[in-house]
Symmetry: C2
Subunit: 251 residues, 2 copies
DNA sequence: AAGGTGATTTGATGCAAGTCATGGTCGGCA
DNA sequence: TGCCGACCATGACTTGCATCAAATCACCTT
C-alpha cells in the first residue's frame, strides 16, 4: 500500500497561467484539445450554448476535484495537466482507475454519485459543465449526447483492456503496456511520444497497475539493464526498443 | 490458465423453448425483462419501430455470438440464459470481463469492432438489433440514445469496481464479492437472491476474478468450513452468513 | 451396473510479487 | 549552503497464490 494522496494536500502556490487555451467561454473556438472532447464537431450555435454554461477552472497540484460518492453535479474536460481517478478500500488500499490528460473527459456517474475520487497530479486547467444544464442541452442538441455516448464507449473499451491487464498480465507486462499506452496517448496529442512523460509518481503507477512501488521500481530498473528504456530523469523515460517492449507487453 | 471454451464447441441439442417471453417482434409488450433494458419507458410508437428491426435468437450453450475484433454490426439484449464476455492474450491467458444474465445488454463497440468475444454459457434467448438501423432510430427518438448512455454509464461504474477487485482484493475477498454481487443481481431480477445460482464453471469464475480454478475451489471449501456458505449442488450456493461475507468482501 | 469423460477438489511444492529495512537523490527553503 | 522531507532504489526475507499432480465427483452412455 502507498500514501493516500489526501495526506499532505500541501497548498501549492497556484500560478495563474497566462495562456488562455481551452474551452473558455470566449475562446472555445481556439481550444487546442477540442477535437478530443465532446465539443468536437459541433455547429457554431451549439458551441455558443455550450460556452454559455461552461466554467473554466485552474487548480494546483494535489487538489481534490471531488470524492467518491459525492453527488455528481458536474462533468469536466481536462484542458491542461494531469488528473488521477481512484477508488479506496476501507483499509486504505487504493486502485487508480485512470489517468486523465489534456482532452480527456470525466464525470459520468450513476445514481449513487461519482464512482471514484478525482485528484490533480500537476497544475490543471479544466472546463466544468453543470450536469443539469448539459442534460437540458441534450434535448435541443441530441448530437451532444451522441458524442458523449461515443466517449463512454471508448472509456468502456479502455476499462476492459485494464481488466485484462490487472487480472492476467505479469508485472513486467503491466509496466511495458503502461509505457506504450502513455506513448500512444502522447502521439494522439501531437507530442513526440518517445521520450514518455510520467507526470505521476511511482506510487500512482503502482496503484494503477495493481503492484507495489517496489515492484514498479525494480521492473523499470530491469528494463534499463535490458536496454529497453533509458531514464532521462525521474519523469522522462525514453523507449529505446519499442518493438521488444511491445513483445514483452503481449506476453 | 484454464480451458478456452472454443475447445469442444460440442453441438448441444437446442431445445425450442415453448415460452415466447422477451422482445419478440409481436411480444415486446409482454417482455419480462424490459424494465432492465433500453426498451424501458418507451412510447408505444417507439416500441413499434424497435420491434420492426429486432430479430429474436435462440442459441444453445457454448456458442459464440461474436469474436473480439469482429466488426460490430449488432447489439443484443439477453432475455434468457447466461453469456460470458472475455478477452484473450496470444498465449491463451483469458480475462472474463463480464457475465450477462436476462435483461443485460451487450454490443457497444469502438471503431476497432467488438472489444471482447461473447459466448453463451447456457441455452440463451436474445434480441438482436442491427447497429446501423438502431442509429437511424436515434435520430428520430433521441430518448433511445439517452437510455443507452445510461446503460453504458452503469457498465462503466461496474468496470471500475471490477478494476478495484482485480487490482487490490485478495482471493477470499474476490470470491466473497462475487457471490454477493450475483446474489444482488438475482434480487433485481425478482429471484430469491439467496440460494445463489452459478451458471458458469469454476474455470469461468477464476478467469473473471483473476485467479486459478484451484484457488477458487480452495476458497469456496474454506468458506464452507467457516460456515459462510453451504453448497447445495455445484451450481447452487446458499449464503449462510451474508453479514460476515460482506465484511470479508470489504477487507 | 459399469465404464468413460470432463469438472471439481485436495495436497505438495515453487515462485513472483509483497513486505520490511536501509540508504541515496533531489528540490525547496531557512 | 546545508538541512529536511518526499520520493526513489535496492537488498533480504516472507508469503499468497500459482503450478503440478492425483484423487474424487457428477453425469452420460451403453
Amino acid at each position: 500500500m502507498t500514501e493516500l494522496g489526501q495526506k499532505l494536500p500541501k497548498p501549492v502556490a497556484m500560478p495563474t497561467r497566462p495562456r488562455s487555451a481551452g474551452c473558455a467561454a470566449a475562446d472555445c473556438a481556439a481550444c487546442e484539445v477540442r477535437s478530443l472532447t465532446f465539443c468536437a464537431g459541433l455547429k457554431p450555435e451549439e458551441m455558443g450554448r455550450l460556452a454559455a454554461i461552461v466554467t473554466r477552472l485552474n487548480l494546483a497540484a494535489r487538489q481534490m476535484l471531488f470524492h467518491e460518492g459525492d453527488s455528481a453535479e458536474f462533468v469536466y474536460n481536462v484542458t491542461h495537466g494531469a488528473v488521477k481517478l481512484y477508488k479506496l478500500l476501507p483499509d486504505g488500499r487504493r486502485q487508480i482507475t485512470g489517468f486523465l490528460l489534456a482532452g480527456d473527459f470525466l464525470g459520468l456517474a450513476g445514481k449513487d454519485g461519482y464512482s471514484y475520487s478525482a485528484e490533480t497530479i500537476s497544475p490543471v486547467e479544466l472546463c466544468r459543465f453543470p450536469r443539469r444544464k448539459l442534460d437540458q442541452l441534450f434535448v435541443v442538441f441530441p448530437g451532444l449526447e451522441h458524442q458523449l455516448l461515443g466517449l463512454a464507449t471508448d472509456e468502456l473499451v479502455a476499462a476492459q483492456d485494464q481488466m485484462l491487464l490487472l487480472g492476467r498480465r505479469t508485472a513486467a507486462e503491466k509496466v511495458a503496456s503502461f509505457l506504450l499506452r502513455l506513448s500512444e496517448r502522447g502521439k494522439v496529442r501531437g507530442q513526440p511520444g518517445n521520450p514518455v512523460q510520467l507526470p505521476m509518481t511511482r506510487g500512482d503507477i503502482a496503484d494503477y497497475l495493481g503492484l507495489t512501488i517496489e515492484t514498479v521500481s525494480r521492473t523499470l530498473s530491469q528494463m534499463r539493464r535490458d536496454q529497453l528504456i533509458r531514464q532521462r530523469s525521474l519523469t522522462e523515460i525514453e523507449l529505446t526498443a519499442v518493438e521488444r517492449l511491445a513483445d514483452l507487453a503481449q506476453g
